[in-house]
């Protein structure tokens, strides 16, 4: 799944509640215009007939959209919830065929029961947490930087550059993943460029070493201290939790920074263009240096945009799938395994649809919590 649609849909969605809480629209004007021509006795019946007609046409117009959403989203989510309580291999019907009802077992095996499944799930959570830690700041700073440069009035051709930087965001994640496989090959483009600077690039896709572990070993700590190795949380030792993102994960991070920064740049640009020119000019007249202007004028006024981008990035981080499917399939050593990919392989690869559905619902819960936090922040600012 490419990252663009969910992110942009979340952005539009945020506008929804505000809009729907607005007072009723002018549409009421139409029937009254009609009834004005009738006498009082007819007026009422004329109006209610018009109302009934409007009700019917309204439903007629809304019906196709409602139907596809109910049939292809609401009902299926209910079915998947049922499946998440089953042991079912996807071959027969989950309602009449061969299945075993196991209650919350799939969920407890993910979260609390020690075993391979819990290890896999916790590994995918760890990988995503490091993805968040590296990707969210990188993509936010880069897209803000691009927006600042593209917003400089002294530069010509700004709309051309804006178009260029946004282009990766609209192209297919499949095509881009293949291109990045080529770029990050052992003797590929990236390592050639690193070679120019005397850096011996790693074997990107097979290197499962975590960046923090690498840092430790650079500091001379090659074997983990006992207390980190002996204590574990959710089936992973503390030492494993502290691995950092693997070298292989960095290629996926590089790819998604590259594809998403253009989109976030546009969000920041929209924010920058909302800052009145007079405010910046006033600061300039008062003798503020460019850095002071940025720190004390631009940055505070951009808080809204920054919160938006950071929360969208947080939500998007939990949905990485396409790139993993094409570039790594979760390897090396499961360091690029993400919850979405785990859900997919457990169901469609191993025929454990109950487990896959349970992973999907835990993932859903995480994303809903993040969305609620985002909405809460937006509310706060508007109040």
């Amino acid at each position: 799944m490419s990252q663009t649609p969910p992110l942009s849909s979340a952005a539009v969605g945020g506008a929804g509640p505000e809009r729907s809480s607005a007072p009723p629209r002018q549409s009421t004007g139409r029937p009254s215009g009609q009834s004005a021509s009738g006498r009082p006795a007819w007026r009422r019946s004329g109006r209610s007939a018009a109302r009934a007609g409007e009700n019917r046409v309204g439903w007629l117009f809304a019906a196709p959209a409602v139907a596809v959403m109910v049939i292809f989203i609401l009902v299926p989510v209910g079915m998947a919830l049922w499946v998440s309580f089953l042991e079912w291999n996807g071959q027969s019907s989950p309602f009449t065929g061969n299945y075993t009802f196991v209650g919350f077992d799939n969920y407890t095996r993910l979260l609390t029961t020690e075993g391979l499944l819990q290890r896999d799930f916790m590994t995918s959570v760890r990988n995503t947490m490091y993805y968040v830690l590296l990707w969210v700041p990188l993509v936010t700073v880069l897209s803000f930087g691009l927006a600042l440069v593209v917003n400089q009035r002294v530069l010509k051709g700004r709309s051309f550059f804006r178009t260029v930087f946004y282009f990766p965001s609209v192209t297919s994640s499949v095509a881009i993943s293949i291109t990045f496989l080529f770029l990050f090959q052992g003797s590929g483009v990236v390592n050639t460029i690193l070679g120019w600077f005397g850096v011996d690039g790693p074997q990107w896709f097979t290197d499962s070493r975590g960046l923090i572990h690498l840092l430790f070993s650079a500091l001379g700590m090659d074997s983990p201290p006992g207390f980190l190795k002996d204590n574990s949380l959710g089936g992973l030792s503390l030492w494993d939790w502290l691995s950092g993102p693997s070298v292989a994960m960095c290629t996926i991070i590089a790819l998604t920074v590259w594809t998403t920064s253009g989109m976030f740049m546009l969000f920041f640009l929209a924010g920058l263009q909302n800052i009145p020119v007079e405010i910046e000019e006033a600061a300039e007249v008062d003798g503020a240096t460019p850095w002071q202007r940025f720190r004390s004028v631009t940055l505070p006024l951009m808080r809204r945009s920054i919160t938006l981008v950071v929360t969208l990035a947080l939500i998007g981080s939990w949905q990485v799938f396409d790139q993993v499917y094409i570039m790594s399939q979760g390897s090396p050593a499961k360091t690029t395994l993400t919850p979405a990919y785990l859900s997919y392989t457990r169901s469609f690869g191993d025929g454990q649809f109950g487990v896959g559905a349970a992973v999907a619902f835990v993932l859903f819960a995480i994303i809903v919590v993040l969305t609620v936090i985002q909405r809460w922040f937006s509310r706060e600012r508007d109040a």
Binding site: M1, N55, W59, A65, A175, L363
Partner: protein
């Protein structure tokens, strides 16, 4: 004083823009150039943008002129175009109708429908993989064009875009049409719809781009190679039979094929792309 400071800003600004342009367009240039290389050339000179020798081998194979290669790539492209165009047309009709109903027609349950659409925006696509497979299997639509197309008609973003556009039309126009005796449907088709053309273009572009690039839905909706779209076919190929570092010119030719239609639409409609994305940011 302004001019004195303008020069260094300009030099730094243009250097940054140039560097970023190389970073953002470079991968596409490599993709395109490598598709004209021989396999050894691609492996030995990955960074060179000039194929030596230039060969059309990869492209010949991509277009099925190599019988040794058993990949129905032209069929994949046909599937992609068929599905993309169907989804785009379907979404335009469904979104326009639903948007108008939500913006202007008072019907029982309107606020409930509105609330449902907003709630569905928050449902991320990756969570819907198993649900979609389940429903298609139950309806007997697994491995069918209907199963590939109909679920993609769900487009909460498009409905909200249309709704906003309809709300911005002055109601007096519709009143005038109604006084002239036009019914709701007539008014909608001949008075209101022509006024929201920009929104229709935006919805159409988003639908085209979204369904052409779609991958996960087709991944769980089909298993028949004859029904694969271009992206699905390429993805299965790279993660399976043609995994590893071989045949990059062919794989990158296929990737280029997947990018070209979007590039064409993007170049023509880039203002619409940029504007719809920016307005999404502002509204938030």
């Amino acid at each position: 004083m302004r001019k004195e400071r303008g020069l260094p800003v300009r030099i730094i600004g243009y250097s940054l823009l140039a560097l970023a342009t190389v970073l953002y367009l470079g991968p596409f240039a490599v993709q395109f150039a490598t598709s004209f290389k021989t396999d050894p050339d691609a492996a030995n000179n990955p960074i060179s943008l000039i194929p030596d020798p230039v060969t059309l081998n990869a492209w010949r194979r991509a277009f099925g002129m190599d019988t040794a290669l058993d990949m129905p790539i032209l069929r994949w492209m046909g599937n992609s175009f068929f599905v993309t165009i169907s989804v785009t047309l379907g979404r335009l009709v469904i979104d326009a109708m639903a948007g108008y109903a939500l913006a202007r027609l008072r019907f029982v349950g309107r606020s409930a429908v509105n609330a449902m659409i907003i709630a569905l925006l928050a449902v991320p696509g990756v969570v819907l993989l198993i649900p979609k497979f389940l429903v298609l299997q139950q309806l007997g639509m697994f491995n069918s064009y209907a199963g590939m197309i109909l679920p993609l008609f769900c487009d909460a973003v498009g409905i909200l875009l249309m709704k906003t556009a309809f709300e911005q039309i002055p109601p007096q126009l519709e009143e005038a049409a109604r006084i002239d005796g036009a019914g709701i449907v007539r008014t909608f088709l001949s008075v209101v719809l022509p006024l929201v053309r920009p929104a229709l273009v935006t919805v159409g572009i988003l639908a085209f781009q979204g369904s052409w690039n779609e991958f996960t839905h087709f991944l769980v909706a089909t298993s028949d190679p004859d029904l694969a779209t271009l992206n699905l076919g390429i993805a299965r190929l790279t993660s399976g039979a043609m995994g590893g570092p071989q045949q990059f010119p062919l794989k990158l030719a296929l990737a280029t094929l997947s990018v070209i239609p979007i590039l064409i639409v993007y170049v023509i409609f880039q203002r619409h792309f940029v504007r719809s994305q920016m307005s999404a940011g502002v509204k938030e």
